[in-house]
C-alpha cells in the first residue's frame, strides 16, 4: 500500500517536474536561440540573397516578386511585392520567422507582431551594420559558422580592395544618380554613400544628411564631380554628355560617365554589395570593364 502511494506520488512528481522543466526550457530557449525557425518568409530581396548565401534556402517558404537573385529565389512562393505583401498569403504559409524592412513594411511588421510571429527587421545603413545583420541572420537560422565564413570572405575582399587603393591623396568625387525625372542622388544617410567610401572615393553629396533626394543641374555643376555613375536605365551616356551646362563638369570633360553598373549591387544591402564596391574601385582606378555575367 505504502509503496503504491509512494509510486503514485513519484509519478506525480515526475509529471509536474517534467512539465515545469519543459515550460522553463521553452521560455529560456525562446529568449535565447535554439528553436530553429523551420518556416521562413523573406519580404526583403537583400535578405533573400543573404539566406541563399548562408545556404539556408531550404527554410525559405515565401518571398516577394522582387526576390530574383539567385535564380532559385524566383521559384520560391511569392507573397506579393515589396511594398504590399499580401497578409493572407503570408499567413497561409504559417511562417515562424519573417524578415521585413522599415519603414516600407511598417503595417505588415505590426500585424505580424500582433499575431506573435517572430519578425526580424533589416535596415542596414552602412557596411558595418550589414555585417552585424548577417551575423544575426546566421544566429536566427542556425548558421553561425556559415555567417562567419561569409563575413571573413567579404572582409578579406574589402581589405584587398582597400590595399589596391594606391595612395589616393585626393579621393575622386563621385556623383550617383538614382533617378532621372527629376534627377535624384544619395546623401550620407544612404548605404550607397558607404560603398563609395570603401571604393576609395567620396560621394559628391556626402555633406547632405539625407538618404536620397532631388537635386538639380546647377547644384551638381557647382560641386563638380570627377566621376558620374548612373544607376537608372532612363538615360544613355551620350544623353548625359549632352545635358546643358554639364560640359563644365570634370567627369564629362574626361568622359568618366558610367551607365552599365548593376543597380542591384548598390540598392540591395546584401552580399553582392562587394561587387558594387569592386566595380566602383575599378572605375576609380580607371580599369573598369563591363563583366558579362557575374
Amino acid at each position: 500500500m505504502s509503496t503504491e502511494i509512494r509510486n503514485k506520488f513519484f509519478k506525480c512528481f515526475i509529471c509536474i517536474f517534467s512539465f515545469w522543466f519543459l515550460i522553463f526550457n521553452f521560455s529560456c530557449s525562446s529568449k535565447q536561440k535554439s528553436t530553429t525557425p523551420k518556416r521562413v518568409i523573406s519580404l526583403v530581396p537583400s535578405v533573400t540573397e543573404v539566406i541563399f548565401a548562408l545556404g539556408k534556402e531550404s527554410l525559405l517558404v515565401g518571398n516577394t516578386i522582387y526576390c530574383d537573385y539567385p535564380e532559385a529565389a524566383k521559384a520560391v512562393y511569392k507573397v506579393g511585392d515589396f511594398s504590399n505583401p499580401s497578409w493572407e498569403k503570408i499567413i497561409r504559409k504559417k511562417p515562424t520567422l519573417v524578415f521585413a524592412t522599415l519603414p516600407e513594411q511598417k503595417n505588415t511588421v505590426e500585424q505580424l507582431k500582433k499575431y506573435k510571429i517572430l519578425v526580424f527587421t533589416s535596415k542596414p545603413t552602412s557596411v558595418d551594420s550589414l555585417f552585424a545583420e548577417i551575423i544575426e541572420i546566421g544566429k536566427l537560422l542556425d548558421a553561425n559558422d556559415q555567417a562567419n565564413i561569409l563575413l571573413t570572405v567579404l572582409k578579406n575582399k574589402l581589405s584587398e580592395i582597400a590595399n589596391n587603393n594606391p595612395n589616393i591623396i585626393d579621393s575622386p568625387k563621385v556623383y550617383i544618380e538614382i533617378a532621372g525625372t527629376p534627377i535624384m542622388t544619395v546623401g550620407n544617410l544612404s548605404y550607397v554613400n558607404d560603398l563609395v567610401r570603401y571604393a576609395g572615393a567620396k560621394n559628391v553629396f556626402a555633406d547632405m544628411s539625407r538618404e536620397y533626394f532631388v537635386t538639380n543641374s546647377e547644384e551638381l555643376i557647382q560641386r563638380n564631380p570627377d566621376i558620374i555613375i548612373i544607376l537608372h536605365p532612363s538615360v544613355t551616356k551620350t544623353q548625359v554628355k549632352k545635358r546643358l551646362g554639364w560640359s563644365q563638369i570634370t567627369a564629362v570633360k574626361k568622359a568618366r560617365i558610367y551607365t552599365e553598373l548593376n543597380p542591384d549591387y548598390f540598392f540591395r544591402p546584401g552580399p553582392r554589395f562587394i561587387y558594387g564596391v569592386e566595380d566602383l574601385s575599378n572605375i576609380v582606378h580607371g580599369v573598369w570593364v563591363k563583366k558579362k555575367i557575374e
Binding site: Y66, D81, S83, I178, A179, G180, T181, P182, I183, M184, F205, M208, R210, Y212, F213, V214, T215, N216, S217, E218, E219, I221, Q222, S234, Q239, K242, R243, L244, G245, Q248
Partner: protein, 313 residues
C-alpha cells in the same frame, strides 16, 4: 490709361522675375562667364513662362466659358489625365522626343471629353456636376498613375514630382529645341484663346443672349476644350501637374482688374508666368534639395488668395 497701367505693372513683374531667376543660383553670377545662367537657368525660365502662362490662361478661358469660378485644369481632371498620358508615354520609352507630349495631350483630351459627358445631365451642365465629375476623374487618374508607377518600380519620389510639378527638367539640346518647337506650335492655339475674349464676355452675361447674337456655344465649347487639352497636355508632359496657378491667377486678375476677358486672358498669362518663375526660384533656392512646385504654390498662394477674397467681400 488704366488699361496700359495694368499691362505695365505685370510686365515689370515678369521682367523682375526673369532677372532674379537668371541671376540667382548656387554657382552665383558673373558677367564674364554666362554659360551656366544661359545653359541651365534660361531653359528653366522659358519653361516657367510657358507653363505658368498656359495654366493661368487655360484656367481663365475655362472659367469664362463654363461660367464657373471653381474650374481649372486641376479640378476638371485634365491635369491628372495628362499626367496619366505622360506616364503611358514614358512606358513606351522615349521613342522620340514628342512621344510624351502627344500621349499627354491625348490623356488630357480624353479626360476632358469624359468629364464633360459625365457632367451633362439632361443636356445641361450644372456647376456642381462639372466639378464633381472633374474631381472624380482626377482621383481616378492620379490613382492609375500611382499604380502604373508602382508596377514599373519607379521610386515614390518620382511619382510625387510628376503629380505635383517641377521645372527641374535636365535639358539637352534636342530636348530644348523640341520644347521651343512646341512653344512655337502652341502660340497659334494660345492666340485662338486670346481672340475669343469677346465671345467669353458675351457668354458671361447670358448663354441665350450669346446664342441670339450668333455665337455657336457648342462649337466654341468644343474648340476651347480641344485647345485647353492641347496646351495642358504639353505643359504637363514637361513639368507634371502644378496646382493653384490655373485656379487662382484668373481670380486674382479679375479681383484687381475686373471681369473683362479682353484683359483677364492676357493678364492671367503674364501673372501666371511671373508667379511660376518666382515659385521655382523659391523651390530651387532651398537647394540642393528641390521641392515640388505645388507645395510652394499652395503655401504662398492660398493665404494671398484668401486675403484678396476677404478684402473684396
Amino acid at each position: 490709361m488704366q488699361k496700359s497701367k495694368s499691362w505695365f505693372i505685370l510686365i515689370i513683374l515678369l521682367v523682375i522675375a526673369i532677372i532674379l531667376s537668371f541671376g540667382i543660383g548656387p554657382t552665383g553670377f558673373s558677367l564674364s562667364d554666362l554659360t551656366i545662367p544661359l545653359e541651365v537657368r534660361l531653359p528653366r525660365i522659358i519653361l516657367g513662362i510657358f507653363a505658368g502662362g498656359v495654366l493661368a490662361l487655360v484656367g481663365a478661358s475655362l472659367q469664362g466659358l463654363l461660367q464657373n469660378p471653381l474650374v481649372d485644369p486641376y479640378t476638371l481632371g485634365i491635369a491628372s489625365g495628362a499626367s496619366f498620358g505622360a506616364v503611358i508615354g514614358y512606358m513606351f520609352g522615349r521613342i522620340g522626343v514628342f512621344t510624351v507630349p502627344v500621349f499627354s495631350f491625348l490623356g488630357a483630351l480624353v479626360t476632358m471629353f469624359i468629364v464633360y459627358n459625365l457632367a451633362l445631365v439632361r443636356s445641361r451642365i450644372t456647376k456642381v456636376s462639372l466639378v464633381l465629375a472633374g474631381v472624380i476623374m482626377s482621383f481616378l487618374f492620379s490613382g492609375i498613375v500611382m499604380l502604373l508607377m508602382v508596377l514599373t518600380r519607379k521610386p515614390l519620389t518620382e511619382i510625387i514630382y510628376l503629380l505635383m510639378g517641377r521645372l527641374n527638367v535636365v535639358f539637352t539640346n534636342e530636348l530644348l529645341i523640341s520644347f521651343i518647337i512646341i512653344f512655337i506650335l502652341s502660340a497659334p492655339v494660345m492666340m485662338y484663346l486670346f481672340s475669343k475674349w469677346r465671345s467669353l464676355n458675351i457668354l458671361s452675361m447670358n448663354e441665350e443672349v450669346a446664342e441670339s447674337l450668333g455665337i455657336d456655344t457648342q462649337k466654341l465649347t468644343r474648340n476651347i476644350f480641344i485647345a485647353s487639352s492641347f496646351l495642358i497636355g504639353l505643359v504637363v508632359s514637361f513639368t507634371g501637374a502644378i496646382s493653384f496657378i490655373g485656379l487662382c491667377v484668373p481670380h486674382i486678375i479679375r479681383l484687381i482688374y475686373g471681369p473683362d476677358h479682353y484683359k483677364v486672358l492676357p493678364l492671367s498669362f503674364l501673372l501666371g508666368a511671373s508667379l511660376l518663375i518666382f515659385t521655382d526660384l523659391v523651390a530651387r533656392s532651398i537647394a540642393p534639395i528641390e521641392l515640388p512646385l505645388s507645395v510652394i504654390t499652395a503655401l504662398f498662394g492660398v493665404p494671398f488668395f484668401i486675403y484678396l477674397l476677404k478684402k473684396r467681400l
